[in-house]
């Protein structure tokens, strides 16, 4: 079973992502902030990371930088909201693989997750 790390602190978004991805047979692990995500990344390997950019303790961009340096074969998809165009551009410069705007379109989520995981297999 492929394992996905979600780093997001909005409980409705988390629940929806968990619901949708679990139904598609992914194992889902949730971190509510960047610090917790770092701990999970040290302990487990993930097939994909889905992360928000505005996170408590460690910013999304710092986290992405860490993942891309330490786990270069782990794809990262950014969970953005509208009006975050500049931040998304910064994230792409750090090497993120894709972005999904919240609230996510369920079909788009499935496609982008599959595509990003496939790219690194």
């Amino acid at each position: 079973m492929q394992k996905i790390l979600i780093i997001e602190d909005n409980p409705m978004v988390v629940k929806s992502l968990e619901f949708k991805l679990s139904r598609e047979n992914y194992e889902v692990v949730v971190a509510k902030d960047g610090r917790e995500a770092m701990n999970f990344l040290d302990l487990h390997s993930f097939d994909l990371v889905l992360t928000d950019l505005m996170l408590p303790f460690i910013s999304g961009t710092q986290l992405i930088q860490h993942i891309k340096e330490t786990f270069p074969r782990t794809p990262v998809i950014v969970l953005s909201t509208s009006k975050q165009e500049n931040i998304i551009m910064d994230a792409f410069n750090l090497g993120v693989d894709d972005f999904i705007t919240k609230p996510f379109n369920p079909n788009e989520l499935s496609l982008r997750v599959k595509r990003s995981i496939r790219k690194f297999q």
Partner: protein, 238 residues
């Protein structure tokens, strides 16, 4: 957004220190609408505190309420709380019988102006404030999931709005922006554009707005959404 049917449930806040009068008031309202919710306070200060977290359709206050009389309470509600709730003053004197005045002792006749106003206010407030379309879409119409998400909406947004209130009091604009960014998707998921726009203003354009006003507006919208969710599901159960 889908249209929701208007509801017959409404809530009234009464500030009245005579137990007989308040009981009489409740009886008349209940005869008019058995589902109406009436919150009674003998003290105007306690009523104001309650109003900061609750949003009834209408307020009725006795003219010589204590510790703040009807006029002082109205000023406070309009200027400090910035609430546009209709306010009726209950008075035994018929001399100053104005549009928003109810003659005491309460009677069905003297309260007719109140019932007309509640109906009008309800029609305005019953504009749909939420839609379940998105939640249905992501869950293939799984009602258990939708109910769980609505419960998460209630508890998580309520908690975040309390945090936003603290950030406002501390003039911590950065924290306010983080909170607004965090709760924006919650309002988007139930398709409330007004609250989404307020979250954007707090997150990105606060220099052009008053954090205090935006926080109050967001709290009012949230409270109305909750009321509408409650009414909507109460209708489905009945």
């Amino acid at each position: 957004m889908k249209n929701l049917e208007p509801s017959s449930i409404y809530s009234i806040l009464l500030i009245e220190n005579s137990l007989d009068e308040s009981n009489h008031f409740v009886d008349i309202v209940k005869k008019e609408n058995e589902k109406a919710q009436i919150k009674v306070f003998a003290n105007s200060f306690e009523a104001i505190q309650w109003l900061q977290q609750n949003h009834p359709e209408v307020l009725v206050i006795m003219e010589d309420a204590q510790p703040m009389n009807a006029s002082q309470t109205t000023d406070y509600i309009r200027q400090e709380l910035q609430l546009k709730i209709p306010i009726f003053i209950a008075s035994a004197s018929s001399e100053k019988r104005l549009e928003h005045r109810i003659l005491k002792p309460f009677s069905r006749e003297s309260m007719s102006v109140l019932f007309e106003n509640v109906t009008e206010t309800q029609e305005i407030q019953e504009q749909p404030l939420f839609s379940l379309d998105y939640l249905r879409d992501i869950s293939d119409n799984n009602m258990e999931f939708i109910m769980e998400l609505l419960e998460i909406f209630k508890t998580s947004v309520e908690k975040q709005l309390q945090e936003l209130e603290i950030a406002k009091e501390e003039n911590d604009y950065e924290k306010a922006a983080r909170i607004a960014h965090n709760i924006k998707p919650s309002f988007e998921m139930i398709e409330n554009e007004e609250a989404t726009a307020i979250c954007n203003n707090i997150t990105y354009d606060i220099e052009d707005h008053s954090l205090s006003n935006l926080t109050s507006e967001l709290k009012i919208i949230f409270s109305r959404i909750l009321l509408q969710i409650e009414k909507n599901f109460a209708r489905k159960k009945s």
